[in-house]
């Protein structure tokens, strides 16, 4: 464990939040949520939850009006999985925490429910593709894993437009569900999403956010526990290139006893105005004895002109926990690693790829879905090739 990591043992010990990361004025649990758009003013960018986001470019998704299109949704899965259209408020595991989520909730109208039957053990993943056709649209998905089921659900977001979406995840008692949400929209696309998960008694949720494309992608992920013994592993991988804004905001609300959460988000940034934001809020309520939680965010800045913000927040209301900690580190590409590899004959490009793939290696291994891992590997290679061209042309300019 590196020196940059802060471990908070039991109790409310004061600790540094690092420069530029003020302690929020308001407890995380007190932030308002509502199904009614009117309860949220149009953000101006000074609000705590919007201060890192380029709100001026989000006007279309703050407008309380019907979409100009319905995103195209294709869903398929192994036998036994049920797909059906249901009312938006049929499970209400999620409750919008900001204006864009409330608008998406209201104007998506109905939701697509994906139901994994009780005790079903799926051998193949369920695939859901949400394609934005270029206009302004909304989607609402509900994933329900029945008691003692095991399943993988891959939600792939593609396309060109402005998309507001809500995803609700219910993990039944004793079930193990892996939800992978991939954001790979076109370069001008915008995607604001809220994911809410309720983890059942002794259930396990693996929630994976992979953001590779899109001009602005902002995903809020909230996890609660319906009973004791729940376990949530929340993973994220992102790679922002020039002009891309990738934002992830997490909130793990520990209220039940003996639950676990483990958050790992890793991102790379390359190019002018490449931007990432990671906010990790964990609340351990007074009742949540025996909680074990850790959250980690790592950012690798590959070129000049990129910026990563990382703010972990831990609120602890009981001392009777197993463990709680957070770690955050943002580093520049290490030239000494490059020198070491090159000194063994490995050309600069290959050495750079090796270091970056090494950076992502552990988290890609944890995703646990080979098709996603392979795809990620390929896209990271493409992005690195573009970053190498960028730095080569930058050197050429300097050299003139």
């Amino acid at each position: 464990m590196s020196a940059a990591e802060t471990l908070v043992a039991t109790g409310n010990r004061a600790h540094s939040h690092g420069p530029g990361s003020p302690v929020p004025l308001q407890a995380r649990s007190e932030r308002p949520t509502s199904y009614d758009v009117a309860d949220f003013a149009v953000p101006n960018g000074r609000e705590e939850e919007w201060r890192f986001t380029p709100v001026k470019q989000l006007k279309a998704l703050f407008d309380d009006a019907a979409g100009t299109e319905t995103p195209k949704i294709d869903a398929s899965g192994p036998e036994g999985v049920v797909f059906e259209t249901v009312a938006a408020d049929s499970v209400k595991v999620g409750k919008p925490q900001d204006r864009s989520a409330a608008i998406a909730w209201t104007h998506a109208g109905e939701a697509l429910a994906v139901r994994i039957p009780v005790e079903a053990e799926l051998t193949e993943p369920v695939h859901v593709n949400v394609a934005s056709l270029g206009g302004r649209g909304f989607s609402h998905l509900i994933v329900e894993a029945g008691r003692h089921s095991r399943a993988i659900v891959i939600i792939d977001h593609t396309g060109a437009g402005e998309l507001g979406s809500n995803v609700e995840v219910v993990v039944g008692d004793g079930a193990e569900l892996r939800v992978v949400s991939i954001q790979q929209g076109d370069h001008e696309s915008i995607h604001l999403a809220q994911h809410d998960a309720l983890v059942g008694r002794d259930a396990k949720l693996h929630h994976v956010v992979v953001t590779l494309g899109g001009k602005i992608v902002r995903i809020g992920t909230n996890v609660r526990y319906a009973g004791p013994g729940g376990d949530a592993e929340l993973l994220g991988v992102y790679f922002a290139e020039g002009g891309q804004h990738h934002e992830n905001r997490l909130f793990v609300d520990h209220e039940a006893v003996h639950c676990k959460s483990n958050v790992i988000y890793k991102g790379a940034l390359a190019g002018d105005h490449a931007r990432s934001v990671w906010i990790g809020d964990v609340l351990i309520r007074a009742a949540a004895e025996g909680t074990n939680t850790f959250e980690l965010n790592r950012n690798l800045v590959l070129t000049d002109g990129a910026r990563a913000d990382s703010v972990p927040n831990l609120e602890i209301e009981t001392g009777e926990i197993e463990g709680a900690g957070h770690a955050s580190a943002t580093g520049r590409f290490d030239d000494e690693q490059l020198f070491y590899l090159q000194a063994r004959g490995i050309p600069e490009d290959a050495a750079r790829r090796l270091v970056v793939s090494g950076f992502f290696n552990d988290i890609i291994g944890k995703i646990g879905v080979p098709e996603v891992a392979e795809h990620l590997h390929d896209v990271i290679e493409e992005k690195l090739a573009r970053a190498a061209e960028l730095s080569a042309s930058a050197k050429a300019v300097v050299g003139q």
Binding site: D334, D335, E336, Q337, F339, Y340, L341, Q342, A343, R344, G345, I346, P347, E348, A350, A351, L354, V355, S357, G358, F359, F360, N361, D362
Partner: protein, 254 residues
């Protein structure tokens, strides 16, 4: 037969107060079949010489030449120097998180040879190199230098030396921080490499201790950025007895 020639090498580094001259005219010829030891006090520029030959970007070559078999080394990129046959065992090997030793070694070997090693013999070669340096085969699955002890890092450098088998090896204080058992194991590795006959070794060290296990043909005393005195193994014995004092005095007078 390989020859590394260093002629009138001047090297500086950039500091807050402008460039600082570290090497002031180094002349050295290392031919295949020879082992040279460079000894000198701290700050005399020994490591700078090693890193300058390997091409570390921190060091600016202000004048002089370095050639390997007549080819201009200074004109080559870091990786090209390695592929030309130079190897630097580093004093502080770098950790590369997420990259396994096995992957690293195979990638390096492929780069040096220009083709991937044959799988069956390669695995055997790697395991032998590891066990020769008293390292468990499970090191292959560990990340490069991550969580390695100081001694393990140094032994891992010699594993690479043996597997990549360059023409000329430069060992930068490979002996520092090693206990006597590890020192013997590392020395045996260097001797195996040198005993092939057509290899050159440049051994940089602060202490004479390693010279009990690796016998140099030539000893160069490095003071203030240049070679102050040269001789055979007897020069190392004099340093063992009297230390660097005589040379430091001479340099202060100058």
């Amino acid at each position: 037969m390989a020859t590394l020639e260093i002629r009138d090498l001047h090297v500086s580094v950039d500091t807050e107060n402008g460039p600082k001259q570290i090497l002031r005219g180094v002349n050295l010829t290392i031919a295949a079949g020879q082992t040279h030891a460079i000894m000198g006090p701290n700050g005399s520029g020994k490591s700078t010489l090693a890193y300058s030959i390997a091409g570390h970007p921190k060091y600016n070559i202000t004048s002089g030449t370095v050639t390997l078999d007549g080819e201009d080394v200074l004109d080559m990129k870091v990786d090209e120097r390695a592929r030309a046959g130079l190897f630097l065992a580093m004093q502080y090997p770098v950790e590369v998180p997420g990259v396994s030793v096995a992957n690293f070694l195979r990638t390096a070997k492929t780069a040096i040879d220009g083709e991937a090693p044959k799988l069956r013999t390669w695995v055997k070669d790697v395991n032998k190199a590891l066990s020769d340096l008293d390292m468990d085969p499970t090191f292959g699955q560990r990340n490069v230098n991550e969580g390695f002890s100081g001694g393990e890092k140094k032994r891992h450098e010699i594993v690479q030396l043996e597997l990549l088998n360059p023409k000329i090896a430069i060992l930068d204080e490979t002996d520092s921080g090693l206990d006597i058992d590890a020192l013997k194991i590392v020395s045996e590795g260097v001797n195996r490499f040198a005993s092939q006959g057509d290899k050159g070794v440049l051994l940089i060290t602060h202490y004479t201790r390693i010279l009990r296990y690796i016998k140099p043909d030539f000893v160069h005393v490095f003071v203030d950025g240049r070679v102050a005195e040269e001789g055979g193994p007897e020069l190392a014995e004099e340093l063992e007895a009297n230390g660097y004092e005589r040379f430091l005095k001479a340099s202060t007078k100058a």
